[in-house]
Assembly symmetry: C2
Homo-oligomer: 209 residues x 2
DNA sequence: CACGTTATTGATCGCATGATCAATATATCG
DNA sequence: CGATATATTGATCATGCGATCAATAACGTG
């Protein structure tokens, strides 16, 4: 039996405690989804009374929205850095597809799906979702514009192409959340699709590892 | 003021009452999402005591799962009939993309997104989701196989291509749920993407209206 | 018309959620 | 060392959820 008894939490600076609570929310969201980001669950994880969580947050809606934003912003930074290490737009685009569809980020996918659903009842979260979608789109659009300028990507609307690409990726990942066992096949045909979308020859986006 | 007073409901046959409850759940899900499919909300909508809803259903999880299945199965039938009226695989595939991305089915999209999220905590719903995804995939796979046999679709794995296609569609629709205002542009580039995926010449899937 | 079957209901339980507030304990400062 | 500021807490409220069950009322049948 785990003993859920809780001793009084050590007194800490507001900044430190606030950060601990945010971190507890982040871990909880990645492990069990945004639905599990609840006043009491966070308090238990942070080893703190439920009231303290409320004390440091204007509302749970806001905390959920912030948690979502943190998780996704981290992922964007991580992937952007990953892409920056590639030599050119074709490699970057191929690597983008591969890394986002390799099944290693299902925890983030769950957060996305739940955010879409919960956003209809949590306006702050909905705003965060739109914001992070825009951030993702900016990254992808940058790659496509670069490719159009220097690598033969044929598109007159890089912004729309970026949205299309993100939609494809999100949909495939969301699907894989339910249809277990196809993690490997998840991105098997997306290279051909994207090549067709951007007027590239077949195989243009193949991995170079 | 709407008067929420409820008179005793007329006595009806179990079959009829059961159908009324299922219908109330269906409407509620389409109007407000699966999250709103709740014991009391359905009872209110059906003009019946909450206990009666419980009386006719083994559990709310089961009712939610059935409601989801009904809604999606209806949509599949509707779209399948719509496709059957088209002359050939190319027209069918183009029409499939157009009708699923024209933004007129956002109510169903919400149901899908919520089902993905809720399925993690409702096993019956998760099973329904897998079932309906398979049904959708079968329809799409049929079109692709037909196209491979008679219309030059180039693919060695119609099943995988069908999954890919559904993923793209679902993702774009889910995105549009949050990013209002791009309903018209939603499917602007998917024709090119699918043409690339299936090795078709550009414009092969253009509408013939 | 009386009676029995059963559709329907009100009341209630247990649990979980977010939120509020006076009370308490602790760190720091004078 | 004492006092003040404040981080922390327990208790509690209001709300909503699913579920259960004895009691009630309506229908159909004999």
């Amino acid at each position: 039996m785990s003993t859920p008894v809780r001793t009084r939490a050590a007194r800490k600076s507001p900044a430190e405690r606030s950060a601990e609570i945010a971190e507890a929310a982040r871990v909880l969201a990645l492990e069990q989804g945004l639905t599990a980001v609840t006043l009491r669950a966070i308090a238990a994880r942070a080893g703190v009374a439920p009231a303290l969580v409320a004390h440091y947050q204007p509302s749970m809606d806001a905390l959920v929205a912030d948690t979502f934003a943190t998780i996704v912003a981290d992922e964007i930074d991580e992937v952007a850095a990953f892409l920056a290490a590639r030599p050119g737009p074709r490699e970057r685009l191929g690597a983008l597809l591969d890394t986002l569809l390799d099944g290693t980020r299902d925890d983030v996918t769950i957060v996305w799906v739940e955010a879409w659903a919960m956003g209809r009842r949590n306006e702050a979260l909905a705003a965060s979702v739109r914001e992070q979608m825009d951030a993702w789109q900016a990254v992808v659009q940058g790659v496509i514009e670069d490719g159009a300028a220097t690598a033969g990507f044929q598109t007159t609307d890089a912004a729309a192409a970026a949205w299309q690409l993100l939609g494809m990726i999100d949909g495939l990942n969301a699907q894989a959340l339910v249809r277990w066992g196809d993690a490997s096949a998840r991105g098997s045909m997306i290279h051909g699709a994207v090549e067709g979308m951007l007027g590239l020859e077949r195989g243009a986006l193949a991995a170079h590892d």
